[in-house]
């Protein structure tokens, strides 16, 4: 849109992260203004599950975590071979949800993300009913191919929105030194299609 920015019209379907079941479809518009500021998003989705079902699943997830007697900790989820210990699946599910909010904030017209791995997770026990986790997650950045390490603090109680605080530092291959974002990536990189070219 001349003088204004780039506007994208999107139609996409969603699926349950765990089961792959169809979870509904969405229509959205995303406007990236000419000057660098957060995009303007309008979105409308149809759900396949009703509110009650979602509530029940949330409660089940919550109970699974609350029933643990010791604080949950874990490393490398999935591991190098793609395995996720069944006991850590709920914790991974929360990481997926939480890191999606990080990715939402970090994404731009030319930079997209995937959750590559949960490097570490530690549960903080609270006196109230909320559950709280400290995560180190690795995000795979497209098209730069960088692996970004983010620290994420996540708090949740069913019926309440997920609360996520995060801080990301880029993990450069030499482990030190800033990573340059001077990758010269072209405009027009598709935000949906990640690739490891």
């Amino acid at each position: 849109i001349p003088e204004s920015g780039h506007k994208y019209y999107l139609q996409f379907s969603t699926e349950d992260y765990r089961t792959g079941e169809d979870a509904g479809s969405c229509l959205a518009t995303v406007l990236y203004p000419k000057k660098k500021s957060p995009p303007v998003v309008s979105i409308k989705c149809s759900r396949t599950k009703d509110k009650k079902e979602i509530q029940e699943e949330d409660n089940r997830l919550y109970q699974r975590i609350r029933h643990q007697t010791k604080p949950i900790t874990g490393n490398d989820i999935p591991d190098s071979y793609g395995n996720i210990e069944p006991a850590l699946e709920p914790v991974w599910a929360l990481a997926v949800a939480g890191s999606s909010s990080i990715m939402w904030e970090k994404s731009t017209e030319t930079l997209g993300y995937f959750l590559a791995q949960v490097k570490a997770v530690k549960q903080w026990m609270r006196k109230d009913d909320f559950i709280e986790f400290d995560y180190t997650v690795l995000l795979h950045e497209i098209p730069t191919q960088e692996i970004i390490s983010c620290h994420m603090r996540l708090t949740w109680l069913p019926g309440h929105p997920l609360k996520v605080k995060h801080f990301c530092a880029s993990e450069s291959p030499g482990m030190d030194g800033g990573s340059g974002a001077e990758s010269g990536s072209a405009a027009g990189a598709s935000a949906e299609k990640g690739a490891n070219f």
């Binding site: 490398d76 791995q117 730069t144 692996i147 030499g174 990573s179 072209a186 598709s190 299609k193």
Partner: protein, 420 residues
């Protein structure tokens, strides 16, 4: 026989650091009561520390004695002086114990003895893959040979398997996997492809017909330094492990290091980034060795470089928006290949040129090979689309390899049927 049981017991003891170096096992078959008695006398001499594997039972029945090294001289002299004949059953007990231990470790670690017992459903170490290659060659010497096309930065051999039924410098197909070391499903698929080619040839089906007129070259671990690093230090390592002066950062992106739009937009000049193109084209031995091979071979007709993840089939260019002259044909072949792939498990793939399908990328492999005149230059991005990403569960290795193979066959057959 009691032997294996006793050996196993010895191994158990051996692993507690007891040694049986120089110990021998002697067998006596007493032919008379006197002989029997002479041996029984030995039993009473505790200081000899004799271990009767088969105790004296009667005339004509063997007596097996493990004799420690220190007592050997004494025992043999005693028997010889008494006219009791004996034979040496085991010359060195420790040697046998060692062998057994190796065998036990081997079977517990499931080190395969041949490519039929190799576990294709698991991810393997570099050594295991190199061992697999050697076994495959040994089992099929008339079809498979192993070429060393160069050495990596850390001096690891760069091996290519050649599948050929004869001829001289036949038109050939090149497939490489593992150029980006963290993309583990690709090396694992490469191993499966190697076995599949052999099987097809044996059963005279599938690619057997292609092998009648063409050769196949397969480089399974195209970036061994990176691969070793993903196993020991950093599972997410992508690049090579070269150090170029002027930077503390390590590694060059081997898929930005080729001489096609080298250094242009679509790669990074910062050594600390994942898409660093390197100081100059072909600076990486992993890349240079393939370049040299392709040039000297001169008759490669299809070149397929395999990556993960994203589920895409791509053709050139990545460094420019100008479409390749053969755009239409490559697009049609891609459509067919993707349809074949999806037919097996319903896996959805998208296809198109690199720059229009994913993003601008310069110095890429298939841009260079295409510009060399290798018309059928393709890149695959295998499973998945991001849920597991690089950490694809091992149980998906075989399904991934199987479906990809169907697409590869479409490309190979098209190359064979459209020789240029």
């Amino acid at each position: 026989m009691k032997l294996p049981v006793l050996l196993a017991a010895l191994v158990a003891v051996a692993t507690c650091f007891e040694t049986f170096v120089g110990h021998q096992v002697l067998r006596v078959i007493p032919k008379s009561d006197e002989e029997l008695q002479k041996v029984q006398e030995l039993q009473d001499l505790e200081h000899l520390q004799l271990d009767f594997w088969l105790a004296p039972r009667g005339l004509g029945l063997p007596i097996d004695i493990r004799v420690p090294f220190a007592s050997l001289m004494l025992v043999k002299t005693h028997l010889e002086a008494s006219g009791v004949s004996y034979s040496v059953m085991i010359e060195d007990v420790q040697a046998l114990v060692d062998e057994e231990q190796t065998e036990m470790l081997r079977s517990s670690r499931q080190l395969p003895l041949n490519t039929n017992t190799f576990n294709y459903e698991a991810y393997h170490t570099l050594d295991e893959i190199y061992n697999f290659m050697d076994m495959l060659v040994a089992e099929n010497p008339n079809l498979v040979s192993k070429l060393e096309i160069g050495r990596s930065t850390e001096d690891r051999p760069l091996y290519v398997l050649k599948f050929s039924t004869g001829g001289t410098n036949r038109p050939a197909i090149w497939i490489d996997t593992g150029i980006h070391s963290r993309e583990w499903v690709t090396q694992a698929s490469g191993v499966w492809f190697a076995k599949k080619i052999v099987q097809d040839h044996t059963n005279n089906e599938g690619v057997a017909s292609i092998l009648e007129t063409m050769d196949i070259f397969l480089e399974i671990v195209t970036n061994p330094d990176g691969f070793a690093f993903t196993q020991t230090k950093n599972r997410m390592w992508r690049k090579t492990r070269s150090k170029h002066s002027g930077s503390i950062c390590v590694g060059v992106d081997p898929n930005r290091n080729w001489d096609a739009g080298f250094g242009e937009a679509g790669a990074s000049s910062n050594p600390c980034t994942e898409t660093y193109h390197g100081p100059y084209a072909n600076s990486e031995p992993e890349v240079k060795s393939i370049v040299d091979f392709v040039k000297s071979h001169g008759n490669i007709k299809a070149f397929i470089s395999i990556h993960s993840y994203s589920q895409l089939l791509l053709y050139p260019y990545g460094y420019t928006e100008t479409p390749v002259p053969d755009q239409q044909e490559l697009h049609e072949v891609s459509a067919k290949a993707v349809a074949a792939l999806s037919s097996l498990y319903g896996t959805k793939y998208k296809y198109g040129s690199i720059i229009t399908t994913i993003y601008r990328a310069s110095g890429g492999t298939i841009d260079w090979t295409y510009n060399q005149g290798i018309k059928y230059s393709f890149t695959f991005e295998l499973r998945d689309t991001g849920r597991y990403g690089f950490l694809l569960p091992a149980k998906q290795i075989i399904p991934t390899a199987e479906e990809t193979w169907l697409a590869l066959k479409v490309i190979m057959e098209h190359a064979r049927d459209n020789m240029y």
